[in-house]
Symmetry: none
Subunit: 292 residues, 2 copies
């Protein structure tokens, strides 16, 4: 088995000549989505970093964090894409390949990279939400609570993944992980929502939509977590495809929200008090309406 | 033996399909922490560089140094992660692998990269502390003393690592290295502490917390140094895991301290004297309260 892996891994680019005739259409689609996620995350990084000075000053930290989140994801997707196109596809294309076994091993190898990514990016994603109303408010404490709940969610999830062949333990750690997830939602709907009440309209809008991503978009992850133990017959390539699409929405989306709110806030302030424009020496930015 | 290493080293990406079933859970965790350290250091680099203009002008040099420190570490972790995931893991996964011997050889190989990193980053880390109170004070001399003590610590430690199989020499050079470490603490608690007394509250806060990192967080290194000779039975992967976590705390932590103090100082100054805003041409930054 090991010699098969080693031999195939030397293929490199040749792996990209593998066709659907050899491995089926689903692995080709998954390979495609890995590549697209890698490039789109990198593109979003450049956008957020470049536009940093086009948002209201108090939104620049949140936009830097948005850039870092997608930048980190671009790196991890680079490695995951490599594992999929340079290792998994050649193994699947080999004569007499065991599709189910290769797919499962590859999925469990790649999931480690997903957790490395989530361990760094999800604390930043939850920290960004109170940062959207940080001007003039003390947000240090609620950010700490959100990050602790988030780390519980990710670390318990990672431990649970190691028990994928032991359904009881897998579900137990999944349940512990869910406590963290519920904790995040709790703080967003109490402390953060309360803070947002006295914030600017653009800030309220940003908090509302970033919270929406957490309660809807993040819902795909517990489902993906349970499939290998509860639905072992399901082709895990479907989970890859859903994760690859979901990650892009859940990471790039909140960054766009922050950008639109910050640009809108800057633009409105410049219309209302032209003096700000003079003191900052910045030219007006176009008025993106979040509602548009 | 060499041909095994070379054969395995060509695996590259395939190594990432190795599972805990083959090598045990600890090497998987260590591999994970190498990867996370590599990416989190890179992410911190982007953050500090991007936020440079959001701190008070006299803190920008310290923030640039903070970025360089984690940027250097990201490169070294890239190479260390490669040695671990592409060489060490495949060797451990091979049939009949001698776990203890491979782990020790890999540890002693990787430690060279740690010293390359420390040789450049630790002088910058100690130099950053007086820089936090540099405005209006002469800090050149104390920075020189701190760097000399630091270099004694690192160079003696590196020489001592070469005598890991000779306990007497190993401990002798360890003791010389400790003189350097004690020297750093001495200058921090005398000259630097004295300077901080007349500094702004944010600057005092920054000096206090960066000193704290040196006297607590740095404590893991002498312990890690002594383990291969004094506790040869201990799994050296534990030392890797502690170093990988400790390095992130000790390098990213002081950068965040500098950032928060600099942002807070800028924000307070803008509230108290709006004229500063005009003279710097900067818009107000959000009020991050280090105390929050």
């Amino acid at each position: 088995m090991l010699s098969t892996i080693f031999g195939s891994a030397t293929l490199g680019f040749a792996a990209n000549l593998i066709t659907a005739d050899q491995v089926g259409i689903l692995p080709m689609i998954v390979n495609f989505t890995f590549f697209v996620a890698y490039i789109s995350m990198g593109a979003a990084f450049v956008f957020f970093i470049s536009q940093r000075n086009s948002v209201a000053p108090e939104y620049r930290t949140a936009l830097t964090l948005s850039a870092i989140i997608v930048g980190i994801a671009a790196f991890h997707y680079f490695y995951m894409k490599g594992l999929y196109s340079d290792v998994t596809l050649p193994l699947l294309a080999a004569n007499g390949a065991n599709y189910a076994e290769i797919t499962r091993n590859s999925f469990l190898g790649i999931i480690n990279f997903r957790y490395m990514d989530w361990l760094i990016t999800t604390p930043l994603l939850v920290a960004k939400i109170p940062l959207a109303v940080a001007a003039g408010r003390k947000v240090g404490k609620v950010i700490t609570y959100l990050i602790i709940a988030d780390l519980l969610m990710i670390v318990a999830g990672f431990i649970g993944e190691q028990y994928v062949d032991n359904t009881g333990m897998h579900l137990l750690w999944g349940a512990i992980s869910t406590i963290g997830y519920v904790g995040i939602i709790y703080f967003l709907f109490t402390t953060v929502k309360e803070m947002a009440k006295t914030a600017e309209p653009e800030e309220q809008w940003a908090v509302k939509w970033m919270t929406m991503f957490v309660i809807t978009g993040w819902g795909i992850y517990p489902i993906g977590y349970m499939i290998p133990s509860l639905l072992p017959q399901l082709d895990l390539n479907i989970v890859h495809a859903v994760y690859n699409l979901g990650d892009q929405i859940n990471k790039i989306g909140p960054g766009i929200i922050v950008y639109l709110a910050g640009a809108q806030l800057m633009s409105r302030r410049q219309r209302e008090t032209p003096a700000v424009e003079v003191s900052t020496g910045k030219a007006p930015v176009p008025a993106f309406s979040p509602a548009a």
